[in-house]
């Protein structure tokens, strides 16, 4: 995997990912744009700068692992995998269709590059902890990354895993919370308050980093900091905007799981394209 180092190139990659997310969901007629868009910048940095893997050899044993705990952001994962070369971009238009390898939520038996099936929330951090523990047992160098939604933190299992990973000192594990502050029923602080979120992770024994999840240098620095932590797992709480990059979707809970109509698709793609060409 050739890494992208320039910040403007990473920004551009994130916008290309956004473009494919919107197109893919519009083609499927359903899907989850809000939480896919909010994590596009984090995803772009992970897949095109931070992680080591080989798209031509998805089973390469020493690859870094990425677990999409918030499985509904499948369009984000599929766009990243396609851009990384795991499969052709043209396959993205099969999303959610019968016989497609691009299931509504990621299914690992169907698509190379998907490490494990997700979709039922709250499980990714436990799975990632298991992979990280195996890596430590076998003295492997790979790291494990997992992306969680903030609404997903309502699941009790996340905190079981948080306790476990700190107890086992899994310094090769990095969790990223996509803190877009919206879940299906609305504002996370009204549905089920998460704050003080940093204090919670601190108390569970994690190294906690707060960043702007749309600021590429911020994201890069956070991963650099993760590399220096040797005694505990790291969590990056990334403040994001749900629906980021499409003006009418931003900060609207209603765009959690809804496809755009023809007019909205055109408008969204136009906005994103303008930034790609800027």
């Amino acid at each position: 995997m050739e890494k992208i180092i320039q910040i403007d190139q990473l920004k551009k990659k994130a916008e290309e990912i956004r473009y494919d997310i919107i197109k893919m969901i519009a083609g499927a007629g359903s899907g989850h744009p809000g939480g896919s868009l909010s994590a596009a910048d984090i995803g772009a940095v992970l897949f095109f700068n931070e992680m080591n893997y080989d798209a031509n050899n998805p089973e390469w044993k020493d690859r870094d692992k990425f677990i999409l705990s918030k499985g509904h952001a499948a369009p984000l994962l599929y766009a990243l995998l396609a851009h990384a070369g795991f499969f052709e971009r043209s396959e993205l238009k099969t999303l959610r269709k019968y016989k497609s390898r691009l299931q509504g939520h990621p299914a690992s038996l169907m698509l190379p590059g998907v490490e494990v099936s997700t979709g039922s929330l709250g499980q990714g951090l436990s799975i990632a902890s298991g992979i990280a523990l195996a890596g430590k047992m076998d003295k492997k160098k790979y790291r494990v990354f997992t992306l969680l939604g903030d609404g997903e933190l309502d699941e009790g299992q996340v905190w079981e895993a948080a306790m476990f990973a700190a107890h086992k000192k899994l310094e090769n594990l990095c969790a990223i919370v996509d803190r877009n502050r919206l879940q299906i029923d609305g504002d996370t602080e009204k549905v089920m308050a998460l704050e003080p979120l940093k204090a919670k992770w601190d108390a569970f024994g994690w190294h906690t980093i707060l960043i702007d999840g749309h600021n590429i240098p911020d994201i890069l620095h956070a991963f650099e900091e993760f590399h220096t932590i040797k005694t505990k797992p790291t969590v990056i709480i990334a403040k994001t905007v749900k629906g980021k990059g499409v003006s009418f979707m931003e900060n609207q809970a209603g765009w959690h799981g809804k496809a755009t109509d023809r007019e909205q698709t055109e408008q969204a793609l136009k906005e994103i394209k303008a930034r790609i060409n800027a």
Binding site: S126, I127, S129, G130, L133, A134, G135
Partner: protein, 313 residues
């Protein structure tokens, strides 16, 4: 038959893990704070670096095992059946089975013979919950010898599997040299009057019932259906054809258990009348194991009565 050999079935599991610890470096054992009850403490003492106690967190345990299996490990996830199958069902369904991961799930304390702890701790729905999951293999050994063999075989099998154990020490029906093959029913004794299928340690009661039946000049064929999934269809159909009707005995809910699995085969392949001795739509309760088995109609005496009645019909 060595009826004098009375040991808890977990001992077979615990010993098999010790053997696997020596022969297969990929085998890991996970427990949720019940390692003395489940016998995983034997493995823990000998292979501490390969034993993971997750604390009282079954959901986390199953998904940690999922992660470990992705890296080529063979995790044996162990705790009471009622907790692992119930509390971690979603993890078993959506992560382990949906991704077809090589995770072995071991549920101890199956059935009402768990006794004094009562209904909250007696797994009576675990077989139903596990056998409905695509990709899942379900094995219910009858004694410690068979539990040992089943554990060894499951370590070799690729894919998710559930192994159901029980609490009480029961008489061994097999010995060290008995054959054991996943998916192949075992004929314990052949008789000309009827066929009785059982699964698990209740086999000890069934064999006591056989003695009582012999006194009444009734000679049943007894089949140990140690694998619930994949089920040995051929064997079921063979005996349905031979006797025209079948009886099943299990320490599990009638809905979804062994009898239910056999009925599914017969309904499609060779409809035959059945009598299912099982637990009918209720929870267990506290009591002495033998008292409970009798109260639930699963003691040797009650099984014997039921066989007599079934043959008269």
């Amino acid at each position: 038959m060595k009826t004098q050999d009375i040991r808890p079935i977990q001992d077979g599991y615990g010993n098999a893990l010790l053997k696997l610890g020596e022969t297969n470096p990929n085998v890991l054992v996970l427990d949720a704070d019940l390692s003395t009850s489940t016998r995983t403490n034997w493995f823990a003492e000998k292979f501490p670096e390969r034993f993971i106690d997750v604390g009282i967190a079954e959901q986390n345990m199953v998904d940690i095992a999922a992660g470990l299996s992705l890296e080529g490990k063979i995790p044996f996830v162990t705790t009471y059946g009622v907790f692992v199958c119930g509390r971690a069902f979603d993890q078993l369904r959506n992560t382990v089975c949906y991704s077809q991961l090589n995770v072995k799930v071991v549920g101890s304390h199956g059935g009402i013979s768990v006794g004094a702890d009562g209904g909250s701790h007696q797994a009576i729905e675990d077989i139903a919950l596990m056998r409905i999951l695509p990709h899942m293999t379900v094995v219910v050994p009858c004694d410690h010898f068979q539990a040992h063999k089943a554990t060894m075989k499951l370590a070799e099998l690729k894919g998710p599997a559930y192994l159901r154990l029980a609490r009480e020490a029961t008489a061994a029906l097999t010995d060290e040299d008995s054959d054991f093959e996943i998916g192949k029913a075992q004929i314990v004794t052949e008789g000309d009057d009827c066929a009785i299928f059982f699964a698990g340690t209740i086999g000890a009661e069934v064999m006591k019932a056989v003695k009582l039946l012999h006194d009444k000049n009734i000679f049943p064929t007894i089949i140990n259906m140690h694998t619930i999934k994949p089920i040995d269809k051929e064997c079921i159909i063979k005996y349905a054809k031979k006797f025209g009707k079948l009886m099943t005995v299990e320490e599990h809910l009638q809905a979804g258990g062994l009898g239910s699995a056999i009925a599914e085969v017969l309904a499609e392949e060779y409809p035959a009348k059945m009598k299912m001795l099982a637990i009918y739509d209720r929870f267990g309760e506290s009591g002495q194991p033998d008292v409970l088995l009798d109260a639930f109609g699963l003691s040797a005496r009650k099984i014997c009565e039921q066989v007599e009645g079934f043959l008269k019909k």
